[in-house]
């Protein structure tokens, strides 16, 4: 049993292993703001096999962290998760539940909304309160180039899934709130599926999640061995421009840009790419960009935090030496 006041705001904090998805933390930041305006409590809800990971959420300003822990909740299962969460929603009667519009978040939200006989606004890109303190979720629709404001004035909790990246990631601060672990009542019949093994489908690279990307372009002349080595030493992935992929130097999964992958790494090292906009839109979200190019007038330098004018060979070699040392 946890001591949570009725009418609070809950955020479903989606776990990946022992950490949380950025969208869940983004929601924590926004939910704190709304909770303060309404003068209600903020609870972070997390689900998994064990408790423990939830303590990290205390750094994002909750009044409570509620961990639902059960061996049957080890991997995501819509039926089991919805059973466990809906029981807590009935008990604590929050006014609002926010979830990230991830694959699992959307799946779970729909099922929960039906169980709670309440409304769900999906794929929201902005949140505000109306004059009766109902939440309005803004949902753009491209069928007709319109944006709809959706609210749920008669049922509670009001539920919303929010697109990742809409709200800023809050700074982590001094831990607040208490952590309560609850073991929900669950049995095998509450579980709809069982995970036998986990093998990613098709392409094995996902540049959208890479923290470090080492990119090669036309200027590499097709020799990616040192680029690959550098990526390996930095714990990162190899990326490429369209010219490099067209030439068959690198597989197409690794093509960055307008018709390839849009990446958000901490660090992008770009070797021998001129910086055509069709490529640079794919690294716009990088925290730090380091570019190496022979041509001092190459537009890539407009996108770089650090630019090195010179042949990429010697630069890569000295980087490799420094990293191997």
């Amino acid at each position: 049993m946890i001591d949570v006041r009725e009418g609070g705001i809950w955020v479903y904090a989606e776990r990946r292993g022992d950490s949380f998805l950025p969208v869940s933390l983004e929601l924590m930041g926004k939910a704190r703001e709304i909770a303060d305006r309404l003068g209600v409590e903020l609870t972070a809800l997390t689900v998994g096999r064990d408790g423990g990971a939830g303590a990290q959420l205390r750094r994002y300003g909750p009044d409570h962290v509620l961990e639902l822990a059960h061996p049957l909740l080890t991997t995501y299962d819509a039926k089991a998760y919805a059973t466990a969460i809906s029981a807590e929603l009935r008990r604590s009667k929050p006014s609002t539940l926010l979830l990230g519009a991830t694959r699992n978040g959307q799946d779970l939200a729909g099922r929960l909304a039906i169980r709670m006989r309440t409304g769900l606004t999906a794929h929201v890109t902005a949140l505000e309160l109306d004059d009766r303190q109902n939440l309005i979720g803004w949902v753009p629709g491209f069928g007709g180039g319109i944006e709809a404001g959706v609210s749920c004035p008669v049922r509670r909790p009001q539920m919303v899934t929010v697109k990742p990246g809409v709200f800023p990631l809050p700074e982590s601060g001094t831990p607040t709130g208490d952590v309560t672990k609850v073991v929900p009542e669950l049995s095998e019949k509450d579980v709809g599926s069982r995970r036998i093994s986990f093998e990613p489908k098709g392409s094995t690279v996902d540049l959208t999640r890479a923290g470090v990307i080492v990119v090669g372009g036309r200027g590499t002349g097709g020799d990616f061995t040192r680029i690959e080595r550098l990526a390996h030493l930095l714990g990162g992935e190899v990326g490429a421009t369209r010219v490099a992929t067209d030439a068959g130097w690198v597989e197409r999964d690794r093509m960055i840009g307008q018709t390839g992958v849009i990446t958000h790494p901490e660090l992008a090292l770009v070797f021998g790419a001129s910086g055509a906009v069709q490529f640079t839109v794919g690294i716009e979200g990088a925290n730090t960009v380091i570019a190496v190019n022979r041509d001092p007038a190459a537009p890539i330098f407009d996108h770089a935090d650090l630019g090195i004018v010179g042949d990429l060979g010697p630069v890569v070699d000295s980087l490799l030496r420094a990293l191997a040392a």
């Binding site: 018709t259 910086g275 906009v277 839109v281 407009d302």
Partner: protein, 374 residues
């Protein structure tokens, strides 16, 4: 006795959908002659068949291959029945948005246009970055509409700067919208989002009126077509492509100059040529600059698309299906020193194709500006 159909799937005619399509495209005139397929530059490199997609549309079906279409309008130009096949493709794509069966990358494109006012998802505050050291008089009723690509793409920015330089040399009073400029909506229209296109036309119309604009000069043929068609509904300003505006200035002697003697071949961008019928001004500009023009076999109304129209700039094309590489080879085959064109998409596509090392790609305005004096 009529033999029964062997197909187990009943054919279902969707009369309503067909009527809606036929009302704007004359699709009911189609008698399935197949001239469109014969004219289509994709017919020998992709499985898309224009005739077949019209036939399927008559049965209320949408051929998933419609996304390959570059809206180059070779089919429109050859159709003996006057069917607006490009309009038909846009219409069918619009239906696909309702069922969300759209290629990856296109929702991102629309989000970029919707939230940032440009096709690159880049900050609106950077939209005037193309200007660098270019001075703009900032007065008069003529507006240089730069468009998304020439605003943000460093390659195309050079074209915008060249046009501005030539207008300045000729003493033309003109304004630009800078960071207030928004997308013309052509990319949204070509991928089938007419709602967003209409919205942007309205916003542009309001902006033009507020600024007292009577004449719009565009950099991109895509903006030229989109604004010319879209603004006519509002009784808006005259819209011209920069090659038309520059031809007037050179003709009236306001800009003169010759460039290094070289031979050049000219590629007609689809939206300037076939869509809007502007074939001669760019050629005259090249010749008046002292260049020798040699033509490719496929010139003017028979020009071969670069492959970048119809939203294809935002969809990856298999290297074996790219019309651009064929066009670059054709240009190199003329023996010309340069391949000139007048569209930022064409330039971007050609420069990324193999073969562009053999024949450098350039823009008509850049060539004229390189030798021009006021």
């Amino acid at each position: 006795m009529v033999e029964e159909s062997k197909s187990s799937v009943p054919i279902r005619f969707d009369d309503e959908a067909w009527e809606a399509l036929a009302a704007t495209t004359n699709a009911n005139r189609c008698f399935q002659c197949g001239t469109c397929t014969a004219a289509c530059p994709l017919a020998d490199s992709t499985p898309m068949r224009v005739r077949a997609l019209i036939r399927r549309a008559q049965f209320g079906e949408t051929d998933p291959l419609i996304w390959k279409c570059m809206t180059c309008a070779e089919c429109n130009a050859s159709c003996p029945r006057g069917v607006d096949i490009v309009g038909l493709v846009r219409h069918l794509r619009q239906e696909k948005w309702r069922t969300r069966e759209v290629p990856k990358g296109l929702p991102t494109l629309l989000w970029g246009i919707y939230s940032d006012g440009n096709t690159f998802h880049l900050p609106p505050k950077d939209r005037a970055a193309w200007m660098k050291d270019v001075k703009v008089p900032g007065r008069g009723s003529t507006l240089l509409y730069v468009g998304c690509t020439a605003s943000y793409d460093p390659r195309a920015q050079r074209t915008a700067r060249s046009v501005a330089k030539l207008l300045n040399l000729a003493g033309v009073e003109f304004q630009v919208m800078g960071t207030d400029e928004v997308c013309c909506g052509e990319a949204a229209r070509s991928v089938g989002n007419v709602g967003l296109y209409d919205d942007l036309q309205q916003r542009n119309s309001d902006a033009f009126r507020k600024r007292g604009v009577e004449r719009v000069i565009t950099i991109s043929p895509h903006s030229f077509d989109a604004l010319k068609v879209g603004q006519s509904k509002y009784g808006g300003p005259q819209v011209v492509h920069y090659t038309q505006a520059l031809e007037e200035l050179v003709d009236s002697g306001k800009v003169v100059g010759t460039v290094e003697k070289r031979t050049v071949t000219y590629h007609d961008p689809c939206y300037l040529g076939r869509h809007q019928g502007v074939f001669e001004p760019p050629r005259r500009l090249l010749e008046l600059s002292g260049l020798t023009l040699v033509e490719m076999a496929n010139n003017r109304a028979q020009s071969l698309c670069c492959g970048g129209g119809g939203g294809r700039m935002w969809m990856e094309t298999d290297p074996l299906e790219r019309p651009g590489s064929r066009r670059v080879s054709e240009a190199a085959g003329t023996g010309a020193d340069l391949l000139a064109t007048a569209c930022p998409y064409c330039i971007s596509v050609f420069e990324s194709e193999r073969g562009s090392e053999v024949i450098p790609v350039t823009d008509v305005a850049e060539l004229v500006a390189s030798g021009a004096k006021g």
